[in-house]
């Protein structure tokens, strides 16, 4: 499995490069300039394909060398937690302009901190309420840049 990682990535990137080149070729033409908008993207796409082909024939670096110590944890990791966290961010984005900044942010801080295993709920609630208020005050009242107020009246 691991030995083919470079190959997998390479194949993906080649596909990406091809799609990119096709999209570039299909860009509308503009007659008034010597070098049109598609030139550089086509070069980049071809470069990507070329480099990816090179990558295909390169062996993966050893996973337990001194260099790769950092990437170690990813492979035996709790990916579910990342998915959940990503989901929470997604919910945050969806509800931000709807519910307003204060509520969404407070809910996000509390829920994600809770989900990540923080046990002191009172501290959590205090932070989840104080931080959004501080930001909201700074933006809307000090700097007069409006953050979404949502359903709350202020």
């Amino acid at each position: 499995m691991l030995s083919s990682q470079n190959k997998k990535v390479s194949l993906f990137l080649i596909v990406l490069g091809v799609v990119f080149v096709i999209m570039s070729v299909r860009l509308p033409k503009y007659p008034l300039v010597p070098v049109d908008a598609d030139a550089v993207p086509i070069i980049l796409g071809c470069l990507l394909i070329f480099l990816s082909i090179l990558l295909f024939f390169i062996k993966d670096e050893p996973k337990d060398g001194e260099d790769s110590g950092q990437s170690e944890p990813f492979f035996n990791a709790d990916r579910k937690m990342i998915l959940l966290f990503g989901g929470l961010i997604l919910l945050y984005i969806i509800f931000l302009e709807w519910l307003g900044f204060l509520l969404t942010t407070a809910l996000f801080i509390f829920t994600s901190t809770f989900a990540l295993g923080y046990k002191k709920h009172v501290t959590n609630i205090v932070v989840a309420i104080a931080i959004p208020i501080a930001f909201y005050y700074l933006f809307n009242y000090v700097l007069k840049i409006s953050l979404p107020k949502g359903i709350l009246p202020f």
Binding site: P28, Y30, P31, L32, V33, K80, M81, L84, G87, L88, L91, F95, W98, L99, L103, L107, T111, F114, A115, K144, I145, S146, G150, I151
Partner: protein, 333 residues
């Protein structure tokens, strides 16, 4: 883990239920409409840009001169040369609390196919400002008048490079093309370079390009310092003010055309008639205050008030004129 999601989901559902009841809005029914809550003016650009400054200054004058007694907040929606902000306003159909500031790109950007919304998707309320364009060359340039330049361009349009801040098919390009066309230059052969990182003047001063198509306000100080020469401004008559009044118009050089960069305030589509009347009146009063006149003078903005009806006609003409130019340039998008 599922429980937390459920928890969040439920609290959101509860709050949503509460919100639906509270957001009823019943104030635009009777004749003399007045805002009953805070007004939002969208600047479809970041803080500090031309739209943003206009919006913030207007909000300031409207509030401080007591013209509107509700709060006015400026909301920035940046992106797409305005398209993001317009898309946002398009969701506020009929709301009398969501205004926005806009200008010439409202015409150019949709024509270039970069926004699905054009001015007919909104309600023009009042225009307040006019800016004029200027065509400048280096002080030691061989061209003394606009006609000197265009005479050379008629012989060989590709011997001259024009620079501007906006992308091709937009303001700085179009206004130069408009004048060149009037003079009889083949405008499809004009070399136009767009510089969006603030290096336009630099490129002109170091001789990389020959002509700078820009706003009058950008060139005044450079002319005073003797660095550049203005061949023409795009207004009908000479502009007022020290140095500025020395700039010849195109018209007086026999090139019978003008170009205005207008700037004003719009509301969303289906803005209630009473609210439209209200805001039109308020903006008119605003342009008559001394505070606004002073701000205008400092920025070098010209006065150009138009009410709703006149504005609509004006915009229609602008679209036709720009579209004709784009067609001739062969920019079809």
């Amino acid at each position: 883990m599922k429980r937390f999601l459920l928890f969040m989901g439920m609290s959101i559902a509860l709050i949503l239920a509460a919100c639906n009841e509270s957001s009823g809005d019943a104030d635009s029914a009777d004749g003399n409409w007045k805002p009953t809550r805070n007004i939002e003016i969208v600047a479809p650009s970041g803080a500090g840009g031309g739209w943003d400054t206009t919006a913030r200054m207007a909000a300031k004058v409207l509030e401080e001169e007591g013209l509107i007694d509700k709060g006015i907040g400026v909301v920035n929606k940046t992106g797409g040369g305005g398209a993001v902000g317009w898309a946002y306003i398009a969701t506020k159909k009929g709301s009398p609390y969501n205004l926005f500031v806009t200008s010439t790109p409202m015409i150019d950007v949709p024509l270039n196919g970069q926004s699905e919304y054009d001015y007919t998707d909104f309600t023009p309320i009042a225009n307040v400002i006019a800016d004029y364009g200027a065509f400048a060359v280096k002080a030691d340039s061989k061209w003394q008048t606009l006609n000197d330049l265009f005479d050379d361009m008629k012989k060989d349009p590709t011997s001259v490079t024009v620079i501007g801040s906006s992308s091709p098919g937009s303001m700085d390009h179009l206004k130069f093309a408009k004048f060149a066309k009037e003079a009889g230059v083949d405008i499809t052969k004009i070399k136009y370079v767009s510089e969006q990182d603030g290096g336009e003047l630099t490129a002109l001063l170091n001789g990389s390009v020959d002509v700078f198509s820009t706003d009058v306000s950008e060139v005044v100080e450079q002319v005073r310092a003797g660095n550049i020469r203005v061949l023409a401004v795009t207004s009908e008559e000479r502009l007022e003010g020290e140095t500025i009044s020395d700039f010849p118009t195109g018209v007086e050089q026999g090139i019978n055309t003008t170009y205005i960069n207008w700037r004003g305030f719009f509301g969303p589509k289906d803005l209630p008639e009473e609210a439209l009347k209200y805001y039109e009146q308020k903006f008119k009063e605003m342009t008559e205050t001394d505070a606004w006149k002073k701000i205008r003078a400092n920025y070098g903005w010209g006065d150009f008030f138009m009410g709703h009806e006149e504005y609509k006609e004006f915009l229609k003409e602008q679209v036709e004129s720009s579209k004709a130019l784009l067609d001739e340039l062969g920019i079809v998008r």
